[in-house]
């Protein structure tokens, strides 16, 4: 059990995090490894992966000091690079073409790396800061390992990790999906928001409101919004809560999920991981290893009687048996905040209270919660009612005849055809679009490098083997990707269809012509 079984199921996906500033002396190379998956690979193998990456980074930096290596495309593997923090690199190695689904869109993989890192930072602060706190690396390793394993446990399908592949080309990780609502509802929401933000008296709280898995409102900065939104959808939304309950029962997520989780930090076995992770036992913080909070642990959130979601992940106060309130770090203000999610039917409210504003810990938080219930209950009820009334269901944003992805890069917002509808597309169509997106990604990053600030307009329509049209349009920071399987006649027809779509659903943003 444990990682041994898991690693065989990962199809050779490797994921490592290393620090270029560490282990520069002969014999101390292991020091630079902060995380490696699968953990039971021999050190020699781990070091060779990291060594290759490091070499390439060093080499490419000669030509491009700002943006070093992004990817290595080898015959059988792709190495995706992401510099999470200065000199702290994340590299993901995926095997190509072993089976038919192993066709990746590199940018999507990089977004996975980015996401897990951002989430980590939200809960624990930066990797660098933790390394500075404990130069031995034990602290960061003991945090990274369970965290990333918990994160990866969301990917498995059946017995293997299902990383974003070409089939996910109509999705955009690292964006937020918004609920569209009427003016009246929007005003109600805004009124609720002002109540939420003033819940803790003078200190300013932040809030985020979700309806189902869609964002309704946020007062956080865009980056913080993405992180918290991602976390909420993963663990807090009504969907996540109900699936979380089941995740231990192996029903929804398959048995592997539990393998990943149970195989993580707490029970890691084998000499290899022992050496890395237990080496920290000698460090001052080593004793904490079993008390590392697993922020992404599955099935640990549940709804309390008062409507607030609680979890014992952050520990339980022995005296009062009250669960400790989680805290998160805001990127923008670098402030620690208490995380208080509240749920009413499909509405999830997340209140962030500055830790510095609460003097008496849990008691103070309880007081603010009380305030929230007193001041906002009625409004919450009203907002939920309004939103439910206007809610078009899971397929609300389906546009028949179109399979689309709309990304507003400025606002980090995306909207796409519902997944159930995307699966009806032929594999060829998806492959074509995935390929097209790869090209567009490249073009975008090139344009960004060439002249920052100036936006590029782009329009590409290609015809796939199955006569479907794969279309990409970029204008004014907005991106539209589309697969039209039934518009096979002519390019004119396809372009007309895009025009119509643009006029009806994008306020004509893509019909400048």
């Amino acid at each position: 059990m444990g990682l041994a079984s898991a690693s065989t199921a990962t199809d050779g996906m490797q994921l490592c995090i290393f620090d270029l500033r560490r282990g520069q002396n002969e014999g101390q190379e292991l020091d630079k490894i902060l995380f490696f998956f699968p953990a039971d690979l021999p050190f020699s193998t781990q070091l060779s992966v990291i060594g290759l990456s490091e070499g390439l980074i060093t080499f490419t930096r000669i030509f491009s000091p700002e943006a070093a290596c992004e990817i290595i495309e080898a015959e059988r593997h792709s190495h995706v690079f992401y510099e999470a923090e200065t000199d702290i690199w994340m590299v993901m190695v995926v095997e190509k073409g072993k089976d038919s689904d192993a066709i990746w869109r590199i940018d999507a993989l990089r977004k996975v790396l980015k996401e897990v890192h951002s989430l980590f930072v939200m809960f624990y602060g930066s990797i660098r800061a933790m390394l500075e706190k404990d130069p031995s690396g034990g602290l960061i390793r003991s945090h990274l390992y369970p965290f990333i394993m918990d994160y990866l446990s969301d990917f498995p399908v059946g017995k293997k990790l299902q990383l974003p592949s070409f089939r996910d080309c109509l999705k955009e990780r690292g964006t937020v999906q918004m609920l569209t609502m009427g003016r009246e509802a929007a005003i109600e929401v805004q009124s609720l928001v002002s109540v939420l933000d003033s819940c803790a008296g003078n200190s300013s709280c932040y809030s985020m409101i979700l309806f189902h898995d869609l964002l309704v409102s946020t007062t956080l900065s865009p980056d913080d919004t993405i992180n918290l939104f991602t976390y909420a959808v993963l663990r807090l939304s009504p969907n996540a809560l109900s699936s979380g309950v089941n995740s231990w029962s192996y029903i929804r997520r398959g048995s592997t999920s539990s393998h990943f989780v149970s195989g993580s930090a707490l029970t890691h076995s084998g000499p290899v991981s022992e050496q890395i992770y237990h080496s920290s036992d000698t460090s001052p913080v080593g004793n904490n290893i079993n008390r590392v909070t697993r922020a992404l642990q599955h099935g640990k959130w549940y709804k309390g009687k008062d409507g607030f979601l609680v979890t014992d992940i952050w520990g339980v106060d022995v005296g009062s048996l009250v669960c400790a309130t989680p805290t998160v770090w805001l990127q923008q203000t670098e402030e620690a905040m208490y995380l208080c999610p509240y749920q009413f039917k499909s509405l999830t409210l997340i209140l962030l209270i500055p830790v510095s504003s609460i003097l008496n810990g849990e008691q103070g938080v309880a007081l603010v919660k009380q305030q929230l219930l007193e001041n906002a209950s009625l409004k919450i009820l009203k907002v939920e009612e309004k939103l439910s009334k206007g809610w078009g269901g899971e397929n609300a944003y389906h546009v028949s005849g179109y399979r689309y992805l709309l990304v507003d890069g400025d606002r980090n917002i995306s909207r796409a055809s519902p997944p159930g509808k995307v699966t009806t597309l032929a594999k060829e169509s998806l492959l074509a679009l995935s390929k097209l997106r790869d090209e567009v990604d490249l073009e975008k990053s090139r344009a960004k490098r060439d002249n920052a600030g100036c936006e590029k307009d782009l329009e590409v329509s290609i015809r796939a083997k199955n006569n479907a049209w794969a279309i990409a349009r970029i204008t004014g920071g907005k991106e539209l990707y589309m697969v039209l399987e039934k518009a096979s006649e002519t390019l004119l027809y396809a372009s007309d269809a895009v025009e119509k779509f643009s006029n009806r659903y994008c306020n004509g943003a893509f019909s400048l012509d």
Binding site: R183, A186, S198, S221, P222
Partner: protein, 734 residues
């Protein structure tokens, strides 16, 4: 005897007030009437005349409109005792009670007199009054019942129309309510009521008033001084003092029922009750304070803390009018002269339903929304109420009161405005506002003794009272002002007689209950007709969104320091209210919201405000977005986007060019045929890109797009530049 009858009231709503520790003020100077050898002072609430008398002369002062310098008219009458005096409603006749069995009538025009006597010696006249009931003109209340008479002006006599037999101990009547309550029984607590309205005579069901017993076997007797008829918001109530229980019971009259409404505590052995602008004032005489109640709201809580009555103006001398029986016991209303000016609630004060106006001082009340609600129902001085409301709204925002509270306050204002829109009163209000300086003055100057007579009979038509008053008091026509009509219209919808209807035809959405038979007491209040919205029709304190912006938000914004997000929340609450009532908001408010959000650098939220159309698109909004977008490119994009969506092609194209996106601008210009943007701008932009191909393309575009472009100077200039560019390119390449 020198009588100085008082007069009181009024207000001045300014928050600055004199010492300001009072809600109720008596107007100074009072009306002084100094008559040598005056024997008695009477007040006739039907005609609102103050009547001092000597043994053979009657003086009368008009108290409405109140003028401290008013002069009296006098009538010489046959000498004799005067127990009580009432002028007929057209003031042509004077009825003088000479004894407990005789009333003398004096015809002023001809100086003739005739008398009316009781038929049997056992009958005693308790009182009498003139009425505008179509069946009769004159009513005599005797211990054996009511006699209703019609006046025959030809024969100069009274004809008995109807008799209502019953035992009467004493009675109370006010002209305002047209209601006479007859007390009977051992304890005088069983009442029979008649309303002698223009719609006819309505007999109310008999009812008993509650009286606590001090001890097992004693039965206290209810006195006439302890029963008050008050008219509030067109509803008629009776208030009864229970001296044992120390409670003031209230009863509301319906056509077929009398319903006890609850009780107010009293804190004084002696109290008096009056109504000013629909606010109930309970004078706790021993304690020398007034407590204000707004019995429209169901709460039994006072509007504000009890505070003493004060006089406005020169505070040391004035007097008050008094109600009731005094020494002679028989006459119903007498004004006692007050010798000691400056003493508030002097021993010899009694109250004559004085018309004081109250000055609700916002600061003394903690419940802002209810204060606003209260103020929005004011109509006596709508302008002042309105200014007060605006002031309160500003204050609560500046004081950063809790959003929920401010929100409630705003709700009150917005729904009141919406209501006034529906009834059309808002616009009328505007009209009268133009004459407002006059309004303030004249309406302020009302006498305390002006018992506004409101006959509430369900058939009020705007202006009719004006007509009625005019025909009754031709002399007043000249002094008649906008405010007068407001007042009368609101507080006294008299007359439904056809002759009075000339000016009718205001609003018709009133509750017309006359003649309608009610099924239950509660859903069909008989006496009520004028709903408040009608009352507010002529002057409305309602505040429009534009005014809210101008006098509240914009004003507050200038003074506000610190975090503007509070004001944003308030604006959102305001939008919430206006959206609920479907009222349009001025784009300037949106502009303000954008400025505030941008100042806070809450650009992400600003975006959601715009995309969710919380801030409705308009050119003003778009331009502000562009302006605020100088600091934030996303916001600028929103502004551009809005221009495009509003089809403001010219602005959109100009801005694109300004941003150097001239290619896009050209495409757009071609698509929407925008020809108003000068080609030179495009050419300039293309030229500064230093790209000869682009410049050539733009030149080409205009040559195709605009006929005759080749002949313009622009073409020549830039064609020259293009050639230069090309030759220099050619030169360098060779």
């Amino acid at each position: 005897m020198s009588g100085k009858a008082s007069s009181s009231s009024q207000p001045s709503i300014g928050l600055s007030g004199s010492g300001a520790l009072s809600h109720i003020y008596i107007q100074y100077p009072p009306l002084r009437c100094s008559i040598p050898e005056s024997r008695g002072l009477h007040y006739d609430d039907g005609t609102k005349l103050l009547i001092p008398s000597t043994s053979n002369q009657i003086f009368s002062w008009k108290t409405v409109p109140f003028n401290p310098l008013a002069t009296s008219t006098s009538d010489s009458i046959p000498e004799g005792p005067i127990l009580s005096i009432r002028f007929s409603l057209d003031t042509k006749l004077i009825a003088i009670q000479r004894s407990s069995s005789e009333i003398q009538f004096w015809i002023r025009e001809t100086s003739e007199a005739f008398s009316h006597r009781c038929r049997s010696d056992s009958e005693n006249i308790l009182g009498f009054f003139w009425t505008d009931c179509p069946l009769c003109d004159f009513v005599v209340v005797k211990n054996s019942g009511l006699d209703l008479f019609a006046y025959d002006s030809v024969a100069k006599s009274l004809d008995l129309v109807e008799m209502r037999k019953l035992n009467v101990c004493w009675y109370v009547y006010t002209h305002e309510s047209r209601l006479v309550l007859l007390a009977s029984g051992m304890q005088c607590r069983t009442f029979t009521g008649f309303q002698l309205s223009s719609a006819g005579i309505v007999r109310l069901p008999k009812f008993d008033m509650a009286m606590a017993k001090p001890e097992a076997n004693s039965k206290p007797v209810l006195a006439a001084e302890d029963v008050y008829i008050v008219t509030v918001y067109g509803r008629i109530y009776c208030l009864q003092v229970d001296r044992v229980a120390m409670l003031l019971h209230s009863y509301r009259f319906y056509r077929d029922a009398v319903v006890q409404q609850g009780s107010l505590p009293i804190y004084s052995r002696k109290i008096a009750v009056s109504v000013v602008d629909n606010v109930l004032l309970v004078h706790q005489i021993d304690a020398k304070v007034v407590i204000l109640y707004d019995i429209f709201a169901d709460s039994r809580a006072p509007i504000s803390a009890p505070l003493p009555l004060q006089s406005r103006g020169f505070p040391r001398s004035y007097s008050s009018s008094s109600r009731s029986s005094g020494k002679d016991g028989e006459c119903s209303e007498v004004n006692n002269k007050i010798d000691h000016e400056g003493i508030i609630y002097g021993d010899n004060w009694t109250f004559i339903v004085p018309d004081l106006i109250c000055d609700a001082i916002a600061a003394s009340s903690s419940e802002t929304p209810s204060v606003l609600e209260f103020l929005q129902r004011r109509k006596l001085e709508a302008i002042k109420a309105k200014q007060l409301c605006l002031g309160i709204a500003r204050t609560v925002i500046l004081e950063r009161r809790p959003v929920s509270m401010v929100s409630k306050a705003i709700d009150v204002l917005v729904s009141s405005y919406s209501l006034s829109l529906k009834t059309g009163s808002y616009f009328k209000g505007i009209k009268t506002e133009s004459t407002s300086s006059g309004v303030a003055k004249t309406s302020v100057a009302r006498s305390s003794t002006d018992v506004s007579t409101s006959r509430i009979d369900g058939t009020s038509i705007r202006h009719e009272s004006t007509a009625g008053v005019d025909s009754e008091y031709p002399s007043r026509a000249s002094t008649f002002s906008a405010s007068e009509s407001e007042e009368n219209a609101s507080s006294a919808p008299l007359r439904t007689d056809s002759r009075d209807l000339q000016l009718g035809g205001g609003k018709v959405d009133r509750v017309n209950l006359t003649g309608a038979h009610s099924s239950g007491p509660t859903d069909n209040p008989v006496f009520v007709n004028i709903s408040e919205q009608q009352d507010s029709e002529l002057t409305s304190p309602a505040i429009s969104p534009d005014e809210m912006y101008k006098f509240v938000f914009a004003a507050v914004e200038e003074e506000m320091v610190g975090d503007p997000s509070y004001l944003v929340s308030i604006i959102v609450e305001f939008l919430c209210s206006t959206n609920m009532e479907k009222i349009k908001v001025h784009p300037n408010l949106y502009v303000l919201a954008i400025q505030l959000l941008a100042r806070n650098e809450r650009y992400a939220e600003l975006e959601s405000f715009v995309t969710n159309k919380i801030l409705e698109p308009s050119k003003e909004v778009a331009l502000q977005l562009l302006e605020s977008g100088r600091q934030n490119i996303q916001t600028r994009k929103l502004g551009l986007e809005m221009l495009r969506q509003l089809s403001l092609h010219h602005d959109y194209v100009s801005l694109l060019v300004q941003d150097g996106r001239y290619n896009e601008a050209l495409r757009y210009a071609r698509k929407y045929q925008v020809t108003t943007v000068r080609p030179a701008l495009f050419l300039q932009a293309a030229c500064s890109s230093n790209n000869s191909q682009h410049l050539a393309a733009v030149l080409r575009f205009f040559s195709d797009f605009i006929p005759d472009f080749r002949t313009t100077s622009d073409f020549t200039t830039y064609y020259g530049i293009l050639n230069e560019m090309n030759t220099s390119v050619a030169a360098t390449s060779f």
